[in-house]
């Protein structure tokens, strides 16, 4: 491992936390406490290191983050609270990301430059161009980071992001991450794509590109460090193709049941931690129990929280609410 024992313990802790949270969300969905689940079980080995290496803060001195809906591990690493994710799952008024409007794992955290996670696949690949342009002008070490899935690379915006980021002498400091779990919803990547690495598409635009195993913590950490160093210093784009797992299938719409035969990054990492005698089975169990407990208590608390009021549908459409009130539905109190 290219990094300290403490860091490894921290990474393990966060990976387990993220997994436990996702499993709690799935249970909430199955027991009717949340309408829909989609999330990142199977991507922790990559997303925890990513979260650690992000330059976190608000504004152009820091990284701008255009994320996919499977990045709870990144967000927990940045510092979000389990309970807030559970609030979004249960769509209570206190959901800090969307006020009960959006699906779980659709984060928005202004103070850390986390732009809305969107449902339409790949629109973030268009939006990231703009923060990239702003980052280029601003200089410094802040960069734009964008994540999308493998199936999403078929949308035109994937090419747009590569094209705009690679304009000669106007390159943009964008780290473009593709998390490849080999599936759209049910459609295998191989059925609807050519059999060349996605990274090749970056190279066609002269963009530095790499393909890595995102189920391996050390490989992920090193690859992200390398890519970020390049983007931060050279102010040029980088395309990182990351092989990950989809441990509970696509979403609750496809059942959210455990999928056999996928590599589990946590299991792999725990093997290494055990071999290196950094942590043992007992430690693993303790971490799990800690977060199991935290998640259960969070659910209990959230279940008592109120849902948003009907009138809030007209809030935050415009800076001034009055602008939104034309026309006003007959059924709603003013």
């Amino acid at each position: 491992m290219p990094f300290s024992k403490e860091k490894q313990i921290k990474i393990h802790d966060l990976m387990v936390k993220a997994r436990l949270l996702e499993e709690r969300l799935i249970k909430m969905n199955k027991s009717g406490l949340g309408f829909f689940w989609i999330g990142g079980a199977g991507e922790e080995a990559f997303h925890v290191p990513l979260g650690m290496l992000i330059k976190k803060g608000e504004g152009l001195d820091y990284d701008f983050l255009h994320f996919h809906y499977r990045q709870s591990a990144t967000l927990l690493t940045l510092g979000v609270e389990m309970i807030d994710v559970i609030r979004q799952m249960h769509n209570t008024a206190a959901d800090p990301y969307s006020g009960g409007r959006n699906f779980v794992n659709h984060f928005a955290v202004k103070k850390w430059n986390v732009v809305n996670v969107t449902s339409p696949i790949e629109v973030q690949l268009a939006t990231c161009i703009g923060t990239g342009v702003a980052h280029r002008r601003h200089g410094g070490e802040g960069i734009t980071i964008v994540t999308g899935g493998d199936a999403g690379t078929a949308e035109g915006e994937f090419a747009s992001a590569l094209g705009w980021a690679s304009r000669k002498d106007r390159e943009l400091p964008i780290l473009n991450i593709v998390t490849d779990n080999r599936y759209g919803i049910s459609t295998p990547f191989a059925e609807v794509h050519c059999d060349r690495p996605i990274a090749e598409r970056g190279r066609a635009f002269g963009i530095e590109s790499a393909t890595i195993n995102g189920n391996d913590v050390a490989e992920s950490y090193a690859a992200i460090e390398k890519a970020m160093a390049y983007v931060r210093k050279k102010r040029k784009p980088y395309l990182l193709e990351v092989k990950v797992s989809r441990l509970y299938g696509h979403s609750s719409a496809s059942g959210a049941n455990w999928v056999e035969g996928e590599v589990d990054g946590i299991v792999e990492f725990e093997k290494k931690l055990k071999n290196a005698k950094i942590l043992g089975e007992d430690d693993f169990k303790k971490v799990r129990e800690k977060y199991e407990q935290e998640s259960i208590e969070a659910v209990k608390k959230v279940l008592k929280e109120p849902k948003p009021k009907p009138e809030v549908i007209f809030e935050h459409i415009f800076a001034d609410r009055k602008d939104a009130e034309i026309p006003w539905p007959p059924w709603l109190k003013k």
Binding site: N91, R101, T118, S119, G152, I185, S186, K307, P330
Partner: protein
Amino acid sequence: MANMAQAIRMALHIGETELGVKDVFGEDVGPPLGGVFTCTQGIKCAWNSPLDERGIIGCALGLALAGQRPVAEIQFADYIFNTIDLLKLCGNTRWVSNGQWPVQMVVMVPVGAGIHGSIYHSHSFESVMTHLQGWKIVIPSTPLDAFGLMLSAIKDPNPVMYLIPKALLRSRGEEKIPGEPEDPKELNTMIDAPLGDRSKWKPVWPKLKDPNMLLGKAKICLGGRDVSVITYGRMVFKCVEAAQKLKEQDNISVEVIDLRTLFPYDQEAIFDSVKKTGRVVVVNEDTEVTNYGEHILRRITEDCFYSLEAPPALLAGANVPGVGLAEPLEEASVPQTSYIIDTVRRVVKQS
């Protein structure tokens, strides 16, 4: 009785076996899933496309130009808004080529709220779509209509947009599709794909009769004297429910009309009803600014002004960016039965 998803599936089966359809395609439309709503399970010519809506509509147009009668699916209406230019192209190809290039194709797409779909699985599409030209636009509210309208859409020599009220896909109708088995469970075993491994599964299709529905014909769901309620899709049931309650509680006689085809729409049926009742409420769940229902109201105001006994009303979705996930938000965003009752009551009381 078949549910709406089964009805669509059975129509597509007739499409591929009898009407020359060679491609039913879109995201997750082919095996193993057969569509996120199962509408394409068991269809032999169904295939999975790349995750690229622009490619899907472009492909459908190209297939139509090659004379192939494609049926393409966009997975949710929420994801069709990056293809509006291409839909316009489909709709103007015959015209701009001075009649040379016909475009016979069907696009089907689930619309509307009612399944806790949050902001990106609840959008309506009729207001933007009816503003485009060169397309016929249909929206069924029952399995029988879903079946008949799909067959007519496939046979129609023009591009047809087939909107599916997604919240109704599991609903069963009162009218049977001619030829379907008595017992709905029997139908399930015949044409629903099994859980687990489907690689060896083959559907057994009932022998069905094409009802040969005309596009452009509305249906009077409930006759009435006091007020006309003009609606379609998911709102048909809420309107019928409201009408029944209004009958019981206020002895108001409501005529409920299901448009079924949004373009070209059945102006005769609309005007006849309004001229009879003198009062009208148009109900849909799309957002209310520049709403298709406003077109219908405008036509009514122009053509039936002197028959109107009260201001015609629109009841539509609140003008907000999306349907929020939490239940109070969804309820506040799209018409509910109680709002329909209140609005109809108000219109009937006005003079």
